[in-house]
C-alpha cells in the first residue's frame, strides 16, 4: 500500500506549495482537514535547522554598496581620478558604460558613522538599520556572475542566469513543505520604487517553480481588495451561499469517487475545502487592526498603506508567525545609473525603517532565533561614475565583483561583518561570498544540504546551487 500511495501521488501534486509525497506521508490519509503543517520530502531537513523560515528582502536594481555599507574613506583621495586599469583588470562592463571615454571614481557624498557595539560603518541614509547592527551579519563580499538585471536577478533567485530553474522559495517549498495547511509555503509581495528614474521590471519566473510541479511556485499577495488572485467570492455570493455550493459539489464529487475510484477526486474535494479555509485565513492575516499602536509606529506610517514596502514587511512578520516557510519581498527602484544622490536617498527613506522594524519585531517576539532575514540586491554598483560627475551628483553602473548584503537571525552571527573589498570597492580582497555560496548557506540554515536537495529533470539531478556553492561557515553562529 505504501508504494501504491506513493505511485499515486507521483501522478499529481497537491496543495499550494505543499509537496505531494510529503503531505501524504505526514498525514497518513488523504484529505485530512486539520490545520497542522505538512512536511516536505522524507528525510528533510537533513540536519537540525537553525531557521524554520526565511524572509528575503530583495532590493531590486542593485543598491550601491559604497554609499550604504562598504565605507571607503580612501575614495576621497581618488575622487574624480580615472579608475586604474590595475584595479579593473579588463573585467567586462555593461554596454551602458563600455562606450564611456573615461571612468572617474565617484566618492560617496554621504556621511558614515560607526554604530552599535560592533562598530559597523553605516551610511547616514540608513539611520534605522544603523540601530540593529548588533543583530546582523553584514557580508561585504557578495559577488555574482551576471552584469545585467535579468540574468543577475534570475541568478540570485534560481541559481542560473538563464530562465527555467525553480526559484529558491520553490526549492524550499518542495523540500520542506509548509508549516501551515491553510497558507502557501511560499509567499511573494512586491512594492514599487521611490526613486524618480524608471524602474527595472520584475518577472514571475523569479518566484516560479521551473521544472518542479507548479504548486511550488510563490503565491503573490497583492495590495487591494483581492489579495490572492481569485480569492474573493464574486459579488452576490456570500459565504453562506459559497458553503452551500461547496457542500453540494462535495457530495456529488464523493458519489463520483465511489463510482470511478480515482483518488484524484478525493484530493479535489480536499483542495476545495482548503480554498474555502483560505478565504477566511488570508483576510484575517491581512487585517492589521489588531496590531497595537507601538508596532505600527515601529514600522512607520507607510505600513498603513497597503502595498508599500513597510506594509509588506509587517505582513511578512504576520506570515512568518503563521508558519509560512519562505516570504519573498521585492522592492523596486535601486538602479541608480544617474541621479544617485537623489534617488538612493528616496529609496532608503522608503525602506530603512521597515527593514529594521522587521528585525526588531521578530526579535522582541523571540522569532528572530529561528527566522532568517536576508537583505540585498542582485549586484552592486561601480565605483566609477556613469554619466557626468559633479560635486553633488553622479550615477553608478552595475557591478558584479562585490556588493553588500546583510542577514539576521536564524543561525547567523550577530554584530558581525564578513569579507573585505579593496580601496576602490571594486574587487574582493578576502572572504568572497558567491551567490551560490549564499544559496547554500540559506539552505544550510534551514537544515538542508544543498548538495542533496535535487530534482531529476531531463536526465539530470538539478539543484539550486547548480554544481557550485559552499556553505559560508564563518558567518554561522
Amino acid at each position: 500500500m505504501e508504494i501504491t500511495r506513493r505511485h499515486f501521488f507521483s501522478r499529481t501534486s497537491t496543495g499550494i506549495g505543499i509537496a505531494a509525497l510529503g503531505s501524504l506521508l505526514a498525514d497518513d490519509g488523504f484529505g485530512a482537514a486539520d490545520a497542522t503543517g505538512t512536511g516536505g520530502l522524507p528525510g528533510l531537513p537533513h540536519f537540525a535547522p537553525k531557521a524554520k523560515r526565511v524572509v528575503f528582502l530583495h532590493q531590486s536594481g542593485g543598491p550601491s554598496q559604497m554609499d550604504l555599507f562598504d565605507y571607503k574613506p580612501t575614495l576621497d583621495k581618488f575622487a574624480g581620478i580615472e579608475l586604474p586599469g590595475s584595479v579593473r583588470m579588463g573585467q567586462r562592463i555593461t554596454g551602458m558604460t563600455s562606450g564611456q571615454s573615461s571612468f572617474p571614481v565617484a566618492r560617496s557624498i554621504f556621511e558614515f558613522q560607526r554604530h552599535g557595539q560592533c562598530g559597523a560603518w553605516v551610511s547616514e541614509l540608513l539611520p534605522n538599520i544603523a540601530k540593529i547592527t548588533d543583530d546582523i551579519t553584514i557580508v561585504k563580499t557578495m559577488n555574482t556572475d551576471a552584469i545585467n538585471h535579468d540574468p543577475a536577478i534570475t541568478f540570485i533567485q534560481s541559481g542560473s542566469q538563464q530562465p527555467g530553474r525553480p526559484s529558491m522559495g520553490a526549492w524550499v517549498s518542495y523540500g520542506l513543505g509548509s508549516e501551515n495547511r491553510n497558507l502557501p509555503a511560499f509567499v511573494v509581495m512586491l512594492s514599487q520604487a521611490q526613486a524618480l528614474n524608471p524602474d527595472q521590471p520584475l518577472f514571475s519566473r523569479l518566484w516560479g517553480s521551473g521544472f518542479l510541479p507548479s504548486n511550488h511556485q510563490g503565491v503573490r499577495f497583492r495590495a487591494g481588495s483581492n489579495p490572492v488572485l481569485y480569492l474573493n467570492n464574486p459579488e452576490g455570493i456570500d459565504p453562506g451561499t459559497r458553503r452551500d455550493m461547496l457542500d453540494a459539489a462535495s457530495k456529488l464529487n464523493r458519489m463520483h469517487l465511489d463510482e470511478f475510484g480515482d483518488p484524484e477526486i478525493e484530493t479535489r474535494i480536499s483542495q476545495y475545502e482548503m480554498a474555502f479555509r483560505m478565504q477566511t485565513s488570508v483576510p484575517d492575516l491581512l487585517d492589521l487592526s489588531k496590531e497595537p499602536q507601538h508596532i505600527l509606529d515601529l514600522y512607520g506610517p507607510d505600513c498603513r498603506k497597503p502595498g508599500t514596502y513597510a506594509a509588506n514587511c509587517l505582513l511578512a512578520r504576520r506570515l512568518l508567525e503563521r508558519g509560512v516557510r519562505f516570504v519573498q519581498l521585492y522592492h523596486r527602484g535601486w538602479d541608480q545609473h544617474n541621479d544617485l544622490p537623489r534617488d538612493l536617498a528616496l529609496q532608503c527613506k522608503g525602506t530603512d525603517r521597515a527593514s529594521a522594524a522587521l528585525v526588531m519585531d521578530l526579535k522582541q517576539r523571540g522569532m528572530l532565533d529561528d527566522t532568517l532575514v536576508v537583505w540585498g540586491g542582485e549586484f552592486g554598483r561601480t565605483v566609477y561614475c556613469q554619466g557626468r560627475l559633479t560635486g553633488t551628483n553622479y550615477g553608478r553602473d552595475h557591478h558584479p565583483r562585490c556588493f553588500t548584503m546583510w542577514m539576521a537571525g536564524g543561525g547567523v552571527k550577530k554584530g558581525f561583518s564578513f569579507g573585505e573589498t579593496d580601496d576602490y570597492c571594486y574587487n574582493v580582497v578576502s572572504n568572497p561570498v558567491h551567490v551560490h555560496d549564499l544559496q547554500a548557506t540559506i539552505l544550510h540554515c534551514l537544515g538542508v544540504d544543498h548538495l542533496k536537495l535535487t530534482y531529476k529533470y531531463q536526465g539530470r539531478h538539478f539543484r539550486l546551487t547548480d554544481v557550485h556553492g559552499q556553505v559560508v561557515k564563518e558567518i554561522l553562529a
Binding site: 507521483s10 496543495g15 514571475s204 481569485y230 452576490g236 484524484e264 477526486i265 552595475h398
Partner: protein
C-alpha cells in the same frame, strides 16, 4: 532521495517479475547511468580510474589482475564486489557521489551477471524494428495492433482490460482529445442513436475533419515550440508570431505529413525556391526569447539564442538532452562537447543580432503583406521615388543657398509689444526684455543645452528656477517645452496663479503613450484635446483673458476641455521645476516670454515657426548642424519655395506618411534566414561565449549515422536526416508524445529524454511498432485514428482498489485514461457549454479577463509595448484559450494556475497539480462566473419549464451524461435554498448576474442568480474538468 528510490522501485515493480530474465537496457543500464556514469561514463575529461561503464569494452575489459564483469560469475566481477562491499571506504558509489544503490538494484546487477551479462547498445540509439504482433488469448478484445501488444502484456500480468466506456463518456473523451472541446448534447444523441457498426469510427472521422482538430494538435506544438507573444527577457515587449502559429494549425488541418511538417519548421527557408509559407514555417526556431536589456552584451545573448534552438530541436525531434554537453562532454549519453558545438553550428548562421526586438519583431523578419498592401506599398514607393527625383538635392540646394542669404531679414519678428519678460536660456537666466526681471536658480542645476528656439534649460527633476511674479487679468505666456518622461509633471507655476503642465500619460491608439497638456487658473482646470508625446519639442502660447485660457500649440489653436474645479493657486513668484505638488518637470524649457496682453495667432506663429529658423539663419553656416540644415530645407520647401516645389514637397510628405502607415499595418513574423557570410562556430569552454576553443563545422553527433554524403551540411540537410528511415529517434519520440496526449503518460514517461537517464519504455515492442508504422508514411491523422480506435483507448476509466494498487499510474492500460484537462481546455470547456465560445480560428492574440494590475506591477512601462493589459472587448473575450496573449514574464494567471507553462523554454510535458488555487479560479474568475450565468440562462430558456428538466438539461450540457436521481436531488435542494436566499437578498442576486461583459437575459434576477449558483457548482465538479 526518496523520490529517486521510488522511481527505481516503480520501474522494477512494473517491469520485472521475480523470475523473469533481466533485460540490460530496461533494468541494468538505468542503474549504471544514474549512479555510475557521472564518473565512469562518456565524459572524457572527468572520468575516474580510467574506467567506463557505458560501453561494452569498458565493462568487459581485461584489467590485468581483475575484470569488471565476468559473465556468469558475480563473485569474480569486480563491479559487484565494489557495489556490494560492506566496507564503506570501498563501496561504490562513494559517499560523496550523493547516490546510493538499494539492495534491489544490487540484486538486479547480480542477476544480470549470473544470467550471462548480455550487453546491448542503449535501446533508443538502435533503429526500431517492427515487432510481430504477439499472440493473445482473448483475440476478440483486440481491435487493432495496439491492443494486441497491450493485451499480451495484461495477460502476462494476469490483468483483464476494462469494458468499453459508455458512449457519452467516450464521445466526451474523444472530442476533448481530438478537438480540445466537449461534444454538444446533440452530438452525443446522434452517437447514442447510431446503431451502425462503424458508429464510433464515424465520430472519429467527423472530429478529425473539424478545424478545431488543428487547434488541438497545435496546442501541444506551441508548448514544444515555446510560442509566446512577447520577447521574454527583461522588458518583455510584444512580438508577432501568430502567423506562424496559424501556419501550424493549418498544417495539422491539412494533415501535412510529419516529415514535411518537421522539415519546413526547421528549414523551410532553405528549401529550393522556398515559398512564403515555407519561410513562415521556419519561424519555429525563432520563437525563443530575445533580449534587448540596456547594457546587455550582444555576443552573450546571440549564443543563448542558438543554444535554445539546439535544446529545442534536440528535445522536440530526438528526445535528447543535448544541452548537457554545452559545458562538458555529456555525463550520461555518448555526446561530446565537440558534438554539441557541431550541432550548434547548424543554427549559428542566422542573420540575427544579439540584442534586438525593441520595436517589435527581431531580424530576420518575413513581411507578410496582403495583396492589397503589397500593391499599395509598390505604388507608394514608386511615387515617393518620383517626388524625390523632383526634389533632388542638386535642384533644391542652389535655391536654398540663395534663400538663406536674404531670408533672415524678412522673417516675421517675435512680437515685442507688451513684452514683460523674455528668457532665452542661452547661458544664463537674465531677462532680455530690458525690464530686468531676471530669474534665479533656487536649487539644483539647469544645464543650458541646444534646444528651441536655439538654446534651452534642462531640468532633471530637482532643480528649480524662480522668476519675478506678475499680476494680470489679461496676459500671454509663450514657451518651448519638451518632456523627458511620461508621468504627470508641472512645467510652470505661479505668477498670477497659473499652472501649466503635462497630464499623466495614457496609451494612444498606436500603442505609444502620450498626454494632454493641462492648464489651471483661478480654481479651474482644462485639458488639451491634442495629445503630446514625450521627447518632442512643442511651442505653447497660452492667452488668458476673462479668466479663461486659450491655447495655441505649435502655431495652431487647440481646443481644451474644462475638467472641473481645483484648488485655486495663490499669487506667487513664477517658477519652473520642483513644484508644490511634488511632480517636477523632467525635460527642457526654452524661449520663455511673458506678455501683458494676448497674442494673435500670427504672432504665436512667428514664435512657433519662424523664430527657430531665425536662430539657425543667424548662425554661421559652417556651424549649422545636419539636423538644423534639414530643418531649414523643410521650412524652405514648406513655406518659401515655388508653388510647384511646395506642392511636390507636401505630396512627398503625405506619401511618406501613408507608406509608414501601410507598412505598420503589414504583419510580419520572425523567421530563419542565413547570413550572407556565415558566422564561424567554436567550441565554447564551459559554454562561455567569451571562451573560444577549436573551430568546428556543422555535423550531427557521432553516435548517429552521419549526414548522407550528398546532403548539404546545413539545417536542411539536418532536417532531412532527422526523417531518414534509419534515424532511431525521430519517429519514436513523436509517437510517444502523441501517446502522452491520450494516456497522460508516454510509453516512455520522460518524453523529453530518451537517453540513458530517461525512463525505459513500459512497452518497447508497442513503441517500436508504432514508430515503424508512423515512419512508413508520417501520416499524423492516421496515427491519431489508430490510437483512438483501439480498444485500449476506448476502455472505461473506472478503477478498482486492486487495480489502483497494482498499477496506480495506469502504465499497463487495463483501464482508460482519466486526467484533469489541460489549462486551455478547462476554460474552453466552460466557454463551450455556455455557448460563449467564439470559434474563430487564428489571428492576432487576444486579451480575455485578467485581474487588474498583473502586468503593470512588474513591467517597465514607458513607451514599450505589452506593458499594460488592455482587456479585449466583445467576442474576443471568448476566443479559445490558445489565442490568449502570452506574455512570458507574466503568463496568463488563470491558465498557469492549471499548469500551463510560461513558455520561456521548450516544454515536452506538463506536470499536473491539484491545488486550492485552481478551486479559487473556477469558483471566482469572472470567466467561470459569467459562463455559469449564461449556462443558467440557457437552462431556464431552453431546458423546459420544470426545475427538474432544466437541471437535467444543465447537467448534461456540462458533463455530456444524464444525472442520476441522487445527483438531481442534491442540486435541486441547492437550487431551492438559493432561491429562498436570493428572494430575501435581491440586491445580491442583481450583483451576481451582472458579472461579465455579456448582458444577462431578461429573466428575473433572483431566479437567474439561484440557477447561476447551481451552474457554477456543476462547472466546479471534478468530472467537469476531467477527461474521463
Amino acid at each position: 532521495m526518496a523520490v529517486r528510490l521510488f522511481l527505481a522501485l516503480s520501474a522494477a515493480g512494473l517491469c520485472l517479475a521475480a523470475d523473469k530474465p533481466v533485460d540490460f537496457n530496461r533494468d541494468v543500464r538505468p542503474i549504471f547511468s544514474d549512479n555510475c556514469f557521472a564518473c565512469h561514463g562518456p565524459d572524457d575529461k572527468h572520468r575516474v580510474a580510467n574506467l567506463r561503464l557505458d560501453t561494452e569494452e569498458g565493462l568487459f575489459a581485461d584489467r590485468g589482475s581483475y575484470k569488471i564483469v565476468v559473465p556468469g560469475d558475480p563473485a569474480k566481477s569486480r563491479l559487484l564486489t565494489r557495489i556490494s562491499a560492506a566496507n564503506k571506504a570501498v563501496r561504490m558509489p562513494p559517499a560523496q557521489a550523493g547516490t546510493t544503490l538499494t539492495d534491489a538494484q544490487i540484486d538486479i546487477v547480480r542477476k544480470w551477471i549470473e544470467q550471462g551479462a548480455r550487453w546491448e547498445r542503449h535501446w533508443a540509439f538502435v533503429p526500431p524494428q517492427r515487432a510481430a504482433l504477439p499472440p493473445v488469448r482473448n483475440e476478440k478484445a483486440a481491435h487493432n495492433p495496439i491492443d494486441r501488444f497491450v493485451l499480451a502484456r495484461l495477460e502476462r500480468e494476469g490483468l483483464k482490460p476494462s469494458p468499453e466506456a459508455d458512449r457519452a463518456t467516450l464521445l466526451r473523451r474523444l472530442s476533448f482529445d481530438l478537438t480540445g472541446l466537449p461534444p454538444t448534447p446533440a452530438e452525443v444523441d446522434a452517437f447514442l442513436a447510431d446503431k451502425s457498426a462503424a458508429a464510433y469510427e464515424k465520430q472519429v472521422d467527423r472530429l478529425l475533419a473539424m478545424p478545431q482538430y488543428g487547434e488541438r494538435m497545435a496546442m501541444q506544438w506551441l508548448d514544444l515550440a515555446r510560442y509566446a507573444d512577447t520577447h521574454g527577457y527583461h522588458i518583455d515587449s510584444a512580438r508577432d508570431m501568430w502567423k506562424w502559429r496559424d501556419w501550424t494549425i493549418g498544417a495539422f488541418n491539412r494533415n501535412m505529413p510529419f516529415d514535411r511538417f518537421g522539415i519546413e519548421q526547421l528549414a523551410g527557408d532553405l528549401l529550393p525556391g522556398a515559398t512564403v509559407e515555407q519561410k513562415l514555417a521556419s519561424g519555429f526556431n525563432r520563437n525563443h526569447m530575445i533580449n534587448y536589456e540596456g547594457g546587455a552584451i550582444p555576443e552573450e545573448y546571440q549564443v543563448e539564442y542558438v543554444a535554445d534552438r539546439v535544446d529545442t530541436t534536440a528535445n522536440v525531434f530526438m528526445g535528447l538532452t543535448l544541452g548537457c554537453a554545452r559545458c562538458h562532454d555529456h555525463k550520461y549519453d555518448p555526446i561530446s562537447q565537440r558534438d554539441y558545438y557541431r550541432f550548434f553550428a547548424f543554427f549559428n548562421t542566422i542573420a540575427e543580432k544579439g540584442l534586438d526586438g525593441r520595436n517589435g519583431n527581431a531580424a530576420p523578419i518575413l513581411e507578410m503583406p496582403t495583396a492589397v498592401q503589397a500593391s499599395e506599398v509598390a505604388w507608394l514607393q514608386q511615387a515617393i521615388a518620383e517626388h524625390e527625383a523632383a526634389l533632388a538635392e542638386k535642384e533644391t540646394q542652389p535655391l536654398l543657398a540663395a534663400w538663406q542669404k536674404t531670408r533672415v531679414d524678412t522673417l516675421p519678428q517675435p512680437p515685442r509689444d507688451g513684452l514683460l519678460a523674455h528668457y532665452a536660456f542661452d547661458g544664463n537666466l537674465s531677462d532680455s526684455s530690458d525690464n530686468h526681471r531676471d530669474g534665479r536658480l533656487i536649487k539644483g542645476v539647469t544645464p543650458f543645452v541646444a534646444g528651441r528656439p536655439g538654446q534651452s534649460a534642462s531640468f532633471n527633476g530637482e532643480a528649480r528656477i524662480e522668476f519675478p511674479g506678475f499680476q494680470a487679468e489679461r496676459f500671454a505666456i509663450a514657451l518651448w517645452m519638451r518632456s523627458g518622461a511620461l508621468s504627470e509633471m508641472t512645467v510652470l507655476e505661479g505668477g498670477p496663479g497659473i499652472e501649466i503642465g503635462i497630464e499623466e500619460s495614457h496609451p494612444q491608439p498606436d500603442a505609444k503613450r502620450g498626454s494632454p497638456l493641462y492648464v489651471e487658473f483661478q480654481g479651474r482646470r482644462w485639458h488639451s484635446k491634442t495629445i503630446l508625446f514625450g521627447a518632442q519639442w512643442h511651442h505653447v502660447t497660452l492667452n488668458v483673458e476673462d479668466g479663461k485660457p486659450d491655447l495655441i500649440l505649435d502655431g495652431a489653436r487647440v481646443a481644451m476641455d474644462a475638467v472641473g474645479p481645483v484648488a485655486a493657486r495663490p499669487f506667487r513668484p513664477m517658477a519652473i521645476g520642483d513644484p508644490h505638488n511634488d511632480k517636477p518637470l523632467k525635460g527642457d524649457v526654452g524661449g520663455l516670454r511673458i506678455y501683458g496682453r494676448t497674442l494673435t495667432p500670427a504672432e504665436a506663429e512667428a514664435l512657433a515657426l519662424h523664430e527657430p529658423i531665425r536662430f539657425i539663419l543667424t548662425q554661421d553656416e559652417s556651424k549649422q548642424s545636419k539636423e538644423q540644415k534639414q530643418r531649414l530645407l523643410d521650412y524652405f520647401l514648406t513655406y518659401d519655395a515655388t508653388a510647384d516645389l511646395r506642392r511636390a514637397y507636401r505630396e512627398l510628405n503625405s506619401l511618406k506618411q501613408r507608406l509608414a502607415q501601410v507598412k505598420k499595418d503589414i504583419v510580419s513574423v520572425q523567421v530563419m534566414a542565413e547570413m550572407a557570410r556565415p558566422r564561424d562556430t567554436f567550441v565554447l569552454g564551459r559554454g562561455d561565449y567569451q571562451n573560444l576553443g577549436a573551430k568546428v563545422t556543422p555535423a550531427v553527433p557521432a553516435l548517429f549515422p552521419p549526414l548522407p554524403r550528398d546532403a548539404p551540411a546545413n539545417r536542411l540537410g539536418l532536417a532531412e536526416w532527422l526523417f531518414s528511415p534509419q534515424h532511431p529517434l525521430t519517429a519514436r519520440v513523436a509517437v510517444n508524445r502523441y501517446w502522452q496526449l491520450y494516456f497522460g503518460i508516454g510509453l516512455v514517461k520522460t518524453a523529453e529524454d530518451f537517453g540513458s537517464q530517461g525512463d525505459a519504455p513500459v512497452q518497447r515492442d508497442l513503441l517500436d511498432w508504432l514508430a515503424c508504422e508512423f515512419q512508413s508514411n508520417w501520416d499524423v491523422k492516421a496515427l491519431q485514428r489508430l490510437i483512438v480506435t483501439s480498444a485500449t483507448y476506448r476502455q472505461s476509466s473506472q478503477v478498482s482498489p486492486a487495480l489502483l494498487e497494482k498499477d496506480p499510474e495506469n502504465r499497463l492500460l487495463a483501464r482508460g485514461p482519466r486526467f484533469r484537462l489541460p489549462a486551455e481546455m478547462v476554460r474552453d470547456n466552460a466557454l463551450t457549454v455556455s455557448r460563449l465560445l467564439n470559434r474563430e480560428v487564428g489571428g492576432p492574440s487576444v486579451f480575455p479577463y485578467q485581474p487588474p494590475g498583473l502586468w503593470e506591477e512588474l513591467s517597465r512601462g514607458e513607451t514599450f509595448t505589452a506593458q499594460e493589459y488592455h482587456e479585449s472587448q466583445g467576442p474576443d473575450l471568448y476566443r479559445r484559450s490558445m489565442y490568449t496573449f502570452w506574455k512570458r514574464t507574466v503568463p496568463p494567471a488563470s491558465l498557469t494556475t492549471f499548469d500551463a507553462p510560461d513558455r520561456e523554454k521548450c516544454t515536452s510535458r506538463r506536470l499536473i497539480t491539484n491545488t486550492p488555487l485552481q478551486a479559487l479560479v473556477l469558483l471566482n474568475d469572472p470567466t467561470y462566473v459569467e459562463a455559469a450565468r449564461v449556462l443558467a440562462q440557457r437552462a431556464i430558456l431552453e431546458g423546459g419549464n420544470d426545475p427538474q428538466a432544466r437541471l437535467r438539461f444543465l447537467f448534461r450540457e456540462v458533463t455530456a451524461r444524464r444525472p442520476n436521481q441522487s445527483e438531481v436531488r442534491i442540486l435541486l435542494d441547492l437550487l431551492q435554498r438559493r432561491l429562498d436566499h436570493y428572494r430575501k437578498e435581491p440586491a445580491q442576486a442583481a450583483k451576481l448576474i451582472a458579472v461579465g461583459a455579456s448582458k444577462p437575459a431578461n429573466i428575473e434576477a433572483t431566479e437567474l442568480a439561484a440557477w447561476t449558483t447551481v451552474a457554477s457548482t456543476i462547472l466546479n465538479l471534478d468530472e467537469t474538468i476531467t477527461k474521463e
